[in-house]
């Protein structure tokens, strides 16, 4: 996908997006609503034509083909199952349109029913199925013609939390069993981190960062990405020196720590770094701790405790302590604490 732009009237929904999605990859487009991720997906499916740019599949240009001419299938957000057809007829629809012989369709449908654990439900009307079952029929219907790419448009958003969790695992399994490239659209960062091989974070029609889940989470390239995914602490620091792939940065307290930075910049002067709350630990005040402050809030969450620590410069720093032992966490509001950081956890942001 190269240089994709899309305007709706004066509104630019997608601005110069270039992405390379690899074969057999579970690729996620992640971003808030209105960031252009669904428009991008619809252009891959063929429901929208890009205003500019090219979309290639295995080297062949597909951007101007009709949806029915592309070896790409979609799982729709509302499933869009054909209400007048049975489960089996829904699943076999694509193969029937491709003109496959009946016996072959029946075999493929049986295989798909097994794959999505709906054996024996083939003759049921789709309208009698539960939400989760309809979801699986929609998946089977899109997978049955063995597309080169499967597009999934927030397919889990209508399911309740428990079902969503099990479908996440199910989707991942289907992807590895079929070896089909999945392109998944979601605004749910947890969903993206759980399932994806790689994630593209989008905002205002542009791709902000592409990377593996850990890269997106631990090495966000910019403030939007860091902020959108998970809880984050931002600190203003000064770059002291660059040592290979690390920079030495000086915190407000005077302590110096190493920080990673995006490959395309050379940080200097005053920069922002991010530190994830679980990479910090509250300890008794000590000169060795790079940060220090006063606890002004303790939030107990069961698995973790969140300590809101007010630093010397009046900024709040969030520390997530895992409740490894039972009982209260040992800190109370008003306590003076030091904050220790795990090794190599600071990341410098692009401006």
């Amino acid at each position: 996908m190269h240089g994709i732009k899309k305007w709706f009237g004066n509104f630019q929904a997608v601005d110069d997006v270039s992405l390379e999605i690899r074969p057999n990859e579970f690729f996620t487009l992640l971003g808030p609503s209105g960031c252009g991720k669904t428009t991008l997906l619809r252009m891959i499916a063929g429901f929208e034509l890009p205003s500019e740019g090219s979309i290639r599949l295995d080297g062949a240009e597909i951007a101007s083909l009709l949806p029915n001419q592309r070896p790409v299938n979609t799982v729709f957000q509302n499933y869009a199952l054909f209400p007048h057809l049975s489960v089996a007829e829904n699943i076999g629809f694509g193969l029937k349109m491709l003109g496959q012989p009946k016996a072959k369709i029946a075999a493929a449908v049986a295989e798909m029913l097994k794959l999505v654990h709906l054996e024996g439900r083939g003759n049921d009307p789709v309208t009698q199925l539960s939400g989760g079952q309809q979801q699986r029929v929609a998946l089977a219907r899109a997978l049955a013609p063995r597309p080169k790419v499967l597009l999934l448009d927030e397919p889990l958003s209508a399911l309740d939390l428990k079902l969503r969790k099990s479908m996440q695992i199910e989707l991942k399994r289907l992807q590895s069993e079929t070896g089909i490239t999945f392109v998944f659209v979601t605004h749910d960062q947890e969903e993206a981190l759980t399932m994806s091989d790689r994630i593209a974070v989008m905002s205002h029609g542009t791709v902000r960062q592409v990377g593996e889940p850990w890269e997106i989470y631990d090495r966000p390239a910019e403030r939007f990405v860091a902020d959108f995914i998970g809880d984050t602490n931002f600190l203003d620091v000064d770059v002291v020196a660059i040592e290979g792939e690390r920079a030495r940065v000086r915190l407000a307290s005077g302590a110096e720590i190493p920080a990673t930075f995006p490959a395309d910049i050379r940080p200097e002067g005053r920069v922002s770094i991010v530190i994830r709350p679980e990479h910090a630990r509250a300890v008794a005040p000590s000169p060795a701790a790079p940060l220090a402050g006063t606890v002004h809030d303790v939030v107990y969450l069961g698995t973790d405790t969140h300590l809101h620590v007010r630093l010397a410069d009046d900024k709040t720093f969030l520390v997530r302590q895992q409740n490894a032992r039972s009982g209260p966490c040992g800190f109370a509001v008003g306590d003076s604490v030091g904050i220790e950081l795990s090794d190599d956890v600071a990341q410098i942001l692009r401006d």
Partner: protein
């Protein structure tokens, strides 16, 4: 459980509502009920009850003019309803499966204008036009009535079909296209099957409307082309016997039957959708 506040307001509780509603129904249905009752009158009066009998139904059944008019009515209504529904289906597809453009609203009103133009105006216009054509061609068969009925039935058939198309989830057609269906196959395997109830509803509505028409038929018909309603109108000018009541009653039953079927078809259109 929290109650829906909108439910706490009910128009039923407004003072006098029930009384007015009952009165309205009474005024609407009392004449019809009277008509049906006197169809079974044994005497020749439509105002004085002389006992129960089916003699007027029998007499209508044996009246060749009534039979001829009925057959003609059914012929015209069937053909006109089919033509009108076919046109209405195409019109509905053309006006819903498109991106909105300038002039679309104008087309809606153009399609629906027969509902608004006074029927007598259309009738006179058709009378003049058809009389010219009759002179030129020498043809004076049922074709004129069928053409006229087809034309004014189009908007009636159009409304339920368009409603059905507008309620249809567009992503279904998109899904079909995504699953390798060409535009024609999408129509054949997805749009049309889902549209059937709308088309049937339109067909029956057009049929009933055509069956019932007096004004345009009266103006357009040639000699000896009475439909049931115009035959009845002609008879009423002379002697009124309960035979009219009997014919009306049968007519009413037929309409009721069609409306009932229409109701059941249009009642559960998309409620089963996922």
């Amino acid at each position: 459980m929290a109650r829906n506040p909108a439910r706490n307001f009910s128009i039923k509780r407004l003072p006098g509502f029930a009384t007015i509603a009952m009165l309205s129904f009474f005024i609407l249905y009392l004449p019809i009920a009277t008509l049906v009752v006197y169809a079974f009158n044994a005497g020749t009066s439509i105002a004085a009850w002389e006992g129960l009998s089916l003699r007027w139904f029998l007499s209508a059944w044996q009246n060749q003019q009534v039979i001829d008019a009925s057959i003609r009515s059914l012929q015209i209504a069937s053909v006109a309803a089919i033509i009108a529904t076919a046109c209405a289906t195409l019109a509905a597809l053309a006006t819903t499966r498109t991106t909105p453009y300038r002039g679309l609203t104008f087309k809606y009103s153009l399609l629906n204008s027969p509902l608004l133009v006074p029927e007598i105006v259309t009738a006179v216009a058709l009378l003049i036009l058809f009389s010219r054509i009759k002179v030129w061609t020498g043809y004076s068969g049922l074709g004129y009535l069928i053409a006229a009925h087809s034309a004014f039935c189009v908007p009636f058939a159009y409304l339920p079909i368009r409603a059905r198309l507008e309620n249809m989830d567009l992503s279904l057609e998109r899904a079909a296209a995504d699953l390798y269906a060409t535009p024609f196959k999408t129509f054949r395997y997805v749009t049309l099957p889902l549209l059937w109830p709308g088309i049937l509803a339109g067909l029956m509505l057009a049929f009933v409307i055509s069956l019932d028409d007096v004004v345009i038929t009266e103006f357009v018909k040639s000699g000896g082309q009475d439909t049931l309603p115009t035959y009845m109108l002609g008879q009423l000018r002379r002697v009124v016997t309960p035979e009219m009541n009997a014919i009306s009653t049968v007519f009413l039953m037929l309409s009721l039957a069609i409306v009932t079927v229409f109701f059941f078809i249009s009642r559960n259109p998309q409620k089963d959708d996922p």
